[in-house]
C-alpha cells in the first residue's frame, strides 16, 4: 500500500466527506462530543473564573492553590485520563472531566492575573461612590480583567477541544474517538481525514470567534 492510501487526494476526501457528514454515526458522535465539550467547558469557565478571582483577592487561597495551578497548567493531563476512567467509568463523565481538566487551569491563571492587575483607581472610584463588594467585583473587577479573562478562555477552549478528542480517543468507544478508532482500524482514510478536517475546523472556528471578541474588548480597553 502506498502513501496515497494514507494521504488520499483531497478530491476523494471531499467526496467521501459528504456521506460521512450525513451518516447517523457521525451525527451521533458529534452530538456526544459537543455535549461533553460544552459541559466540561461550562464547568471549567465557572470554576476557572471563580477560583481565579478568589486567588487574586484572597491571599490564603492564592498561597494554597498557586503552586498546584502552576503545576497542572503545564502538566500533560492526558496521562491522568486512565485514572479518570477508573474513577468515573468508561463513558461521557470521563470525557467531561478530561475537557474540564484540560481547560480549567489556564483560565484560572489568566483570570487571576487580570483581576490582580485591574485598575486600582477604578476600584477606589467605586468605593467613593458607595459600591459594595459585590458591585466592585461585578461592575469593575471582572470587566476590568475581561481582556485577560478572554485570552484565558480562548486558550482554555483550544485545550478543551484537545481534551474532548484525547478523552474520547483513549476511551475509544464513544463520540468522535470511536469514529477515529473505527476509521483508522479499518483503514478508511478518506473518512478518517474528513473527520480530522471537521475537528480542526471546529477548533479553529471557536478560537477565531473568541479572538474576535477579544479584539472588540481590546479596542475599548485601548486606553488602559
Amino acid at each position: 500500500m502506498g502513501v496515497s492510501s494514507i494521504f488520499p487526494p483531497i478530491s476523494s476526501i471531499l467526496m467521501v466527506a459528504s456521506t460521512v457528514l450525513s451518516s447517523e454515526k457521525f451525527i451521533k458522535a458529534i452530538e456526544i462530543s459537543l455535549r461533553t465539550f460544552a459541559l466540561g467547558m461550562t464547568l471549567a469557565l465557572l470554576v476557572g473564573i471563580g477560583l481565579g478571582a478568589l486567588m487574586a483577592r484572597v491571599k490564603t487561597v492564592r498561597e494554597i492553590l498557586g503552586t498546584w495551578v502552576n503545576i497542572f497548567v503545564s502538566a500533560p493531563i492526558s496521562a491522568l485520563v486512565p485514572i479518570l476512567m477508573g474513577i468515573l467509568g468508561i463513558g461521557e463523565a470521563t470525557v467531561v472531566a478530561t475537557v474540564f481538566l484540560f481547560a480549567v487551569f489556564v483560565i484560572i491563571l489568566d483570570t487571576q492575573v487580570g483581576i490582580s492587575k485591574a485598575d486600582r483607581s477604578l476600584v477606589e472610584m467605586g468605593h467613593s461612590f458607595g459600591a459594595n463588594r459585590y458591585q466592585i467585583f461585578t461592575k469593575i473587577l471582572i470587566l476590568s480583567a475581561l481582556p485577560e479573562i478572554l485570552a484565558g478562555i480562548r486558550l482554555g477552549v483550544i485545550r478543551g477541544v484537545k481534551g474532548v478528542v484525547i478523552g474520547q480517543l483513549l476511551i475509544s468507544i464513544i463520540g468522535v474517538g470511536e469514529l477515529f478508532e473505527l476509521y483508522s482500524k479499518h483503514f478508511l482514510m478518506e473518512e478518517f481525514w474528513s473527520l480530522v478536517i471537521v475537528v480542526f475546523a471546529f477548533a479553529l472556528l471557536l478560537s477565531e470567534a473568541i479572538a474576535y471578541c477579544e479584539r472588540r474588548v481590546e479596542y475599548y480597553a485601548g486606553s488602559r
Binding site: 472610584m125 467605586g126 467613593s128 458607595g130
Partner: protein, 255 residues
C-alpha cells in the same frame, strides 16, 4: 463645630504601614458652600488628607466630621473627582457619568436622564455614546466632574483634577468649573500643588507644611470674580500679591 462649617478635621494623623508619617495633628474646619484648597509642597500629604476626608483611606488617629457626624467611610454626602479621571474604559461617557447613580440603584431611565443633563452642563453634549479613550484629557476630566455632580453630594472632593490637562484647556476648564459651582452652594475641597490655581479658584487656601503635613497657614484670597474677565483677574494686584505671599511661605520647605 461652628454653624457654617461642614467638614471638620480633629487631630488627624496618618502613619503609613511603611512607617512614613504623612500627616500629624491636622485640625481644620471647612466652611460650607466655599471652595477650599489644600496647597503644599509635594509629599506633604495633601492627597492623603483628601482621601481621608473622602473615607477612602483610614486615618491612623483623629476623626473626620461631616455635617455634624463622624464618618467611617465614603458616603453620599461626598463625591470625588480623581486626578487620573478613573473612567471605565469599557463604558460609554453616558454610562460613566451615570455610574454613581447606577451603584445607588437608581432606575436606568432616570439615571441616564440625569447623566445627560450634566453631560450637557459640562459641555460634552454629543459625546454621550463615545468611549473615554476617544476623548482628550480635558474632556475626560469633564466626564469625571459630571459624574461627581450627578450624585448631588453636598461636598465635592477634587484631587489635582487639572494636573493631566494642558495649560490652555485648564484655564477654560477652571472658568467653566467656577460657573458650574457658583449657583449650587457646593462645598469644594480642592487639592493642588499649583499656587496660581489655588489663588485663582479658592475662597480659602489651606497651606500644609512639609511631611508630616499639618496646617501651617490659612489664606483668604478674596478675589472678586464677578464682572471681571479672567484675564483681568490674572493681572490684578491683589491676586499677584497673594501668589507672592504663598510662594514666600512655601519656599521655606524647599531648602
Amino acid at each position: 463645630m461652628s454653624a457654617d462649617s461642614i467638614v471638620k478635621l480633629k487631630d488627624i494623623g496618618k502613619i503609613y504601614d511603611t512607617g512614613v508619617e504623612a500627616l500629624k495633628d491636622v485640625n481644620f474646619e471647612f466652611p460650607v458652600g466655599k471652595l477650599s484648597t489644600l496647597l503644599g509642597p509635594s509629599g506633604c500629604g495633601k492627597t492623603t488628607l483628601l482621601k481621608i476626608i473622602g473615607g477612602l483611606i483610614d486615618a491612623t488617629s483623629g476623626e473626620v466630621w461631616v455635617n455634624g457626624k463622624p464618618i467611617s467611610g465614603p458616603g453620599p454626602d461626598r463625591a470625588f473627582v480623581f486626578q487620573d479621571f478613573a473612567l471605565m474604559p469599557w463604558a460609554t461617557i453616558l454610562r460613566n457619568v451615570a455610574f454613581g447613580l447606577e451603584l445607588r440603584g437608581v432606575p436606568k431611565d432616570e439615571r441616564l436622564d440625569i447623566a445627560r443633563k450634566y453631560i450637557k452642563e459640562v459641555g460634552l453634549e454629543g459625546f454621550e455614546s463615545n468611549y473615554p479613550h476617544q476623548l482628550s484629557g480635558g474632556m475626560r476630566q469633564r466626564v469625571g466632574l459630571a459624574r461627581a455632580l450627578t450624585v448631588d453630594a453636598d461636598i465635592i472632593l477634587m484631587d489635582e483634577p487639572f494636573s493631566s490637562v494642558d495649560e490652555q484647556t485648564r484655564r477654560k476648564f477652571q472658568e467653566d468649573m467656577l460657573d458650574l459651582l457658583q449657583n449650587r452652594r457646593k462645598t469644594v475641597i480642592f487639592v493642588t500643588h499649583r499656587i496660581e490655581e489655588a489663588a485663582y479658584l479658592s475662597d480659602l487656601i489651606v497651606l500644609l507644611s512639609a511631611r508630616p503635613g499639618s496646617v501651617s497657614q490659612v489664606i483668604k484670597p478674596d478675589i472678586d470674580h464677578s464682572g471681571k474677565c479672567p484675564d483681568e483677574i490674572r493681572r490684578d494686584k491683589n491676586y499677584l500679591d497673594i501668589i507672592d505671599n504663598i510662594w514666600r511661605e512655601l519656599k521655606v520647605y524647599l531648602c
